[in-house]
Amino acid sequence: MKVKVISRSTDEFTRERSQDLQRVFRNFDPNLRKQEKAVEYVRALNAAKLDKVFARPFIGAMDGHMDSISCMAKNPNYLKGIFSGSMDGDIRLWDIASRRTVCQFPGHQGAVRGLTASTDGRILVSCGTDCTVRLWNVPVATISDSDDSSDNSMKPLAVHVWKNAFWGVDHQWDGNLFATAGAQLDIWDHNRSQPVNTFQWGNDSVISVRFNPGEPDVLAASASDRSLILYDLRMSSPARKLIMRTKTNSISWNPMEPMNFTAANEDCNCYSYDARKLDEAKCVHKDHVSAVMDIDYSPTGREFVTGSYDRTVRIFQYNGGHSREIYHTKRMQRVFCVKFTCDASYVISGSDDTNLRLWKAKASEQLGVLLPRERKKHEYHEAVKNRYKHLPEVKRIVRHRHLPKPIFKAAALRRTMTEAERRKEEKRKAHSAPGSISTEPLRKRRIIQEVE
């Protein structure tokens, strides 16, 4: 006769230290817990609510410029550094952690319109409306200089005067070249005083340019004739032009998907394109209520941040039609430039009110070192929330944002307008011969032509 007896080994049940947690054994038999779905739903709801409670995205403003900020550049090799240029020709290097100016780069006579740093973070390139391109040595960041914010100003490494005013500049990834946008697109070398290559396609000035970080010889530019132009440096020739109904203010390539880029358009939307199929946008990102001024991809390639003339910063999923987050403050004016930091956890915006603002990329993220259990808990909350995000209650809480009145009203107005348009279209379709009127999707509607 055998009798089974509960036996527990002492090793498994003695704690090494008195602070240790008691080991808990669980029976995972699903028959024992039948309420798991309900429990998790409630948890998801609570997680969503907690997210709202802890959503404090604004970390601080960086104040120092005397005029509105026109452009920014991040140091690809140094997390804490960010450069900003303002309309009065002032360029500053900021220490994000202390939110203070590290040094200034004086010299520009007019507005600084473009800033970029080389991949190794040693050289800063700036250009502006004074028709000059300036190269600067970036001071090596040490522990000491982040403490005393001496207003040490730098001398330019080189100044290249050129024929036309510049609208933007971008540096090649892992290379020596940078491109400026002006009356035409110029490709420069660090060591040359003249552009090594010049592209002109049409007579309209180029207003923004961005290199593809994954494919360093490919770049995209937008021109004031509402066009988007792709260039290939290997062929030293422009490749394709796409003309849209409205102007594109800025472009950003997806750093993890070298074929895709997103264009920030005047018509309040962003358009994600596949560089290989320009006849239609892959995704239209709607939500802004005024022109989108700047766009920057997160280094993870999963989301991007946009700054708009409607005084808001929004964060979109790379494949989402609507924004996941909107940031605004009472004092923030028109946003002219936005950047994601290199570790994908912060967003910096530069606006008309002469301030740079530092935001968290995830509004309710807990900063600082997390204990493993804490981290697990956060992960669980996130997972549960993600699982039940389709249920109405959770969805409502997650989606809800408090908007400034003008933006709310403008959004409502836009909605009614688009709705009216849609209805009209529908009616027209209903009252005409079947097949005679075909509605183009929004992805195609804003494209006029693809020029070879």
Binding site: N77, G121, V218, E379, R387, H390
Partner: protein
């Protein structure tokens, strides 16, 4: 193609030319440009400047020329552009663009034409010279004529230019087309000079063959420079090529991007370089800077010091090692000594005990693992076989023979004992062994049984076995009397439980013994006799209930005779079929086996005891039972019997069908026929038809539910539900005191607005009812009640990435919380889509080859590979500092 043309031209000569001219005519006519002039004017023009294309001028055009005009458009373009001609001042003066063609540019179609011209240029040189004069004259003429035309029509000169330019082209490039051209005859006739003609005189001279070869070469691959494309077109082409190229190049990323997109999690924190990870690593990086440090370093790294250090360490090490080895040696030595001592022991008791021990362990081993048991069995088998062969122990030895010769009685006790011992040994070895637990096959055991039984009669064997079984049962019963007096089993409640069970077992055992006795007796009485009467009676006894049921069925049939009854009969038929099969089974069962089989059955069901059954029993099962008996596992079986009381169920089941068969035989008044069931059916139905009218299905149902009005109930219920879901509007009532003092309301009745409202509400309700899903379904209620609380837990539509409801439900079926999942899988379940670390710079994607057909790798590897290298310089120190930014 051009060459062919040319050759054919040369061959066919003038006859062909005629044809060509005809062909070229419509083409040239089409080419006419310029404004349409009034016919009068045109006539005038024709007079002044006889058009070579019209009527008379026809013959003036050389056939080649016509072809040229038709095909060679660039010639047309190369003419001086209007702006250059400065005939009117509408164009600014622009620098002339020089076209250059890319080197690898080729177009053979055009080339051929060009070639034609080139080839013929030479031969036409002469004629050109001669026509020079005429040309000039004509040009002058044209100028004057143009001015005149301008004066008349008031049109700009370009209007007339088209035609003229053509003329110009012709004049400058190819052949004169003036009718005054003296070389016309030469051209028209057969007197064309070809290269062949020029070459012929050189025939036979030195270098002729070379020249000819060269000519052939030139003819064969004629290269010509083409006119460059306009800049816009060229650039367009370039861009197109560039785009195609970059498109192709960028496509290489596709698999990688796809993989990353499909990966459940992307990792960006893999290349975290936190600098030094261990103290040793930090120490190894240390470099002395100050004097003091240098001094210390020099001391530390001094050879002598190092040597000393090394030595010190080695002494320790060596000592330790020495100790260890010494310990091992001493252990070995002690073990050896012990073994020696044991080996020397002569004590028989000791060795006996040792042997016993060994046997015990061996037996334990046998019990423990079947492998050892098998081996042992094999060994024994071998021994037995040997014994059977040699008969070693059967008093066949010299010694044994001698002793037997002398007589056993004479021998002393020891010898007798030895002899008997030997005989016993022989008996043991030659005896049939059933102790082998895994009897190799049923057949062999069967054979063994036969062997054993062949000594006596069948009955004898059976009785023997029965006796044995009885004995064993008794043994078991006795055995169980021992009560454990320690441990958990000695606890009072356990004891009680055991007792109870034991009693039950005892009862059962007793019953079994009784049965054994009975069967033994029966066997004695006359085992072989087959008493059919008894069989029948037993069958009736056993299946009395079943029979009753069947009768009941038939009764029902008599009442209703619906499809149910048919079903019943079908079942019966099925059973019969099964029975037949059973009966057809090979029955090589002899009586004793059947008996055994029965006895085993008796243990649980003593009532079922009939010889008939035994006979019907299929063979294999009996053998199985026998094997059980023979192997001595009876005890085990018994215990099993106790445990679930029903272990021999399958055989008893198999016994059932034949009895059923009998039963049916009774019912049908027939026995042991295949189609008895059908016959039953037939008789029943025929009986029915004679007496009974077949009621319809509806009738039957109506009859069945005669008492209760279901439909009414349902309708009422539906109405109630409708009222609940779409409540009826309240009837307007007079409010007490309202308007009464004037008696107005009493006179007027209800105010009209109230009535109106009521009407509207009623209409609304009716509409709502009409819209209901069950409005037209008389027998259905589709509830449209919304549970607001439940609605919260449902999505209105299927969420985007999912294509079916099932998939979506599956995706949220399993919980992911720590309470419901073990910690091992929790991480994987809750992992976010992007794993990154604050303060780690994420570099853009780097290209690497990805096999698109490969499955997504496991976690931890599926993420994006980052560039692990951190560039030196500025970044060198930033690595550590990145952690500050939190």
């Amino acid at each position: 193609m051009a060459e062919k043309k040319r050759k054919s031209k040369e061959e066919s000569g003038g006859g062909r030319l005629q044809k060509k001219r005809k062909n070229s005519k419509p083409k040239t006519l089409k080419k006419r440009t310029g404004p349409r002039l009034p016919s009068k004017l045109r006539k005038e023009l024709d007079l002044v400047n006889p058009n070579p294309l019209d009527g008379g001028g026809d013959e003036e055009i050389d056939s080649d020329e016509g072809e040229l005009l038709a095909n060679n458009l660039y010639e047309y373009e190369e003419a001086a552009p209007e702006e250059e001609s400065k005939k009117n001042r509408r164009f600014d003066s622009v620098e002339n663009f020089e076209y250059e063609l890319p080197e690898d540019f080729k177009d053979e179609n055009i080339a051929s034409d060009d070639d034609d011209i080139e080839g013929e240029d030479e031969e036409n040189n002469r004629s050109e010279n001669s026509s020079q004069l005429g040309d000039e004259v004509e040009e002058e003429d044209d100028g004057r004529h143009m001015r005149m035309l301008q004066g008349i029509t008031g049109m700009p000169s370009e209007a007339f230019e088209g035609k003229k330019r053509k003329n110009n082209v012709v004049v400058s490039e190819a052949y004169p087309e003036s009718e005054y051209n003296p070389s016309r005859d030469v051209l028209e006739g057969n007197g064309r000079i070809s290269i062949q003609d020029l070459l012929d005189p050189l025939h036979g001279k030195s270098g002729y063959s070379k020249l000819r070869k060269r000519m052939h070469q030139v003819e064969r691959k004629s290269m010509s420079v083409h006119a460059p494309l306009p800049k816009a077109d060229r650039e367009k082409l370039e861009r197109k090529v560039a785009y195609e190229q970059s498109k192709k190049d960028i496509t290489k990323w596709e698999p990688l991007v796809k993989k990353n997109r499909e990966a459940p999690t992307v990792y960006f924190d893999e290349d975290v370089d936190l600098g030094f990870s261990t103290v040793g690593a930090i120490a190894s990086e240390f470099e002395p800077r100050t004097d003091f440090e240098k001094k210390i370093a020099s001391l530390v790294h001094d050879d002598k010091v190092l040597e000393a250090h090394r030595k010190m360490i080695s002494v320790e090490d060596v000592e330790e090692r020495h100790n260890r080895i010494a310990k091992m040696r001493s252990l070995l030595f002690h073990h050896e000594m012990k073994a020696k001592r044991i080996k020397k022991i002569k004590s028989k008791t000791y060795h006996r005990l040792l042997k016993k021990d060994r046997l015990k362990t061996a037996s334990a081993e046998i019990q423990m693992d079947p492998e050892a048991a098998k081996e042992l069995a094999m060994k024994q088998e071998f021994k037995r076989a040997e014994e059977r062969l040699t008969l070693k122990h059967k008093n066949s030895s010299k010694w044994a023979k001698r002793i037997l010769k002398r007589g056993l009685d004479v021998q002393d006790e020891g010898t007798r004992a030895a002899i008997s011992e030997q005989l016993h040994q022989h008996a043991l070895l030659t005896r049939k062994m059933h102790s082998m637990k895994d009897s190799s096959s049923d057949e062999s055991s069967d054979e063994d049984d036969f062997d054993e039984n062949s000594a006596g009669s069948d009955e004898d064997g059976a009785s023997k076995l029965l006796a044995k079984a009885k004995k064993k049962t008794l043994e078991v019963l006795e055995e169980e009397d021992k009560i454990p007096d320690s441990g958990v089993l000695s606890l009072p409640f356990m004891v009680r439980g055991l007792k109870k069970r034991k009693e039950a077992a005892y009862e059962e055992g007793k019953l079994a013994i009784n049965e054994f006795d009975a069967s033994l007796k029966q066997m004695e009485l006359g085992s072989g006799a087959e008493n059919l009467k008894e069989t029948a009676s037993s069958g009736r006894r056993v299946f009395g209930t079943v029979k009753k049921q069947v009768q009941e069925f038939s009764n029902k049939d008599a009442h209703y005779n619906n499809s149910d009854s048919e079903d019943e009969f079908k079942v019966k038929e099925n059973i019969e079929a099964a029975n037949d099969q059973n009966n057809n089974l090979p029955k090589h069962v002899d009586i004793d086996a059947g008996l055994l089989r029965e006895e085993s059955e008796i243990g649980q069901d003593p009532i079922f005891k009939s010889f008939d059954d035994i006979v019907r029993d299929p063979g294999p099962k009996t053998t199985y039972e026998v094997a059980m008996f023979a192997s001595g596992s009876w005890k085990k079986m018994k215990s099993e019997n106790e445990a679930n009381g029903n272990i021999i169920k399958p055989p008893s089941k198999s016994v059932v069908p034949p009895r059923h068969n009998q039963d049916q035989g009774e019912v049908g008044g027939d026995s042991d026929t295949d189609d008895e069931g059908q016959m039953v059916d037939g008789t029943l139905s025929s009986g029915m038809k004679a007496t009974y009218e077949l009621p319809s299905q509806a009738e039957l149902i109506r009859r069945a539910f005669a008492g209760d009005d279901v439909e009414e109930d349902f309708e009422k219920g539906k109405e109630e539900i409708l009222k609940g879901e779409n409540p009826e509007p309240e009837k307007p009532v007079l409010l007490p005191g309202w308007g009464q003092w004037t008696h107005v309301q009493q006179k007027k009745g209800l105010p009209s607005w109230m009535l109106e409202e009521h009407e509207i509400a009623k209409k609304k309700r009716e509409e709502a009812l009409k819209k209901r899903k069950d409005a037209h379904l008389k027998h259905v209620i589709v509830s449209e009640k919304l549970d607001k609380k439940a609605e919260k837990l449902h999505t209105k539509t299927l969420p985007f990435p999912y294509t079916s409801k099932e998939v979506f439900e599956q995706s949220i079926r399993m919980p992911i919380g720590p309470e419901f999942n073990p910690a091992v899988v929790l991480g994987a379940l809750n992992r976010p889509e992007v794993v990154k670390k604050a303060g780690v710079i994420i570099k853009p994607i780097k290209y690497k080859d990805v096999n698109p057909h490969e499955r997504v790798e496991e976690h931890g590897q599926g993420g994006k590979k980052q560039n692990t290298k951190k560039s030196k310089g500025v970044g060198g120190k930033t690595i550590k500092k990145t952690n500050n930014l939190k």
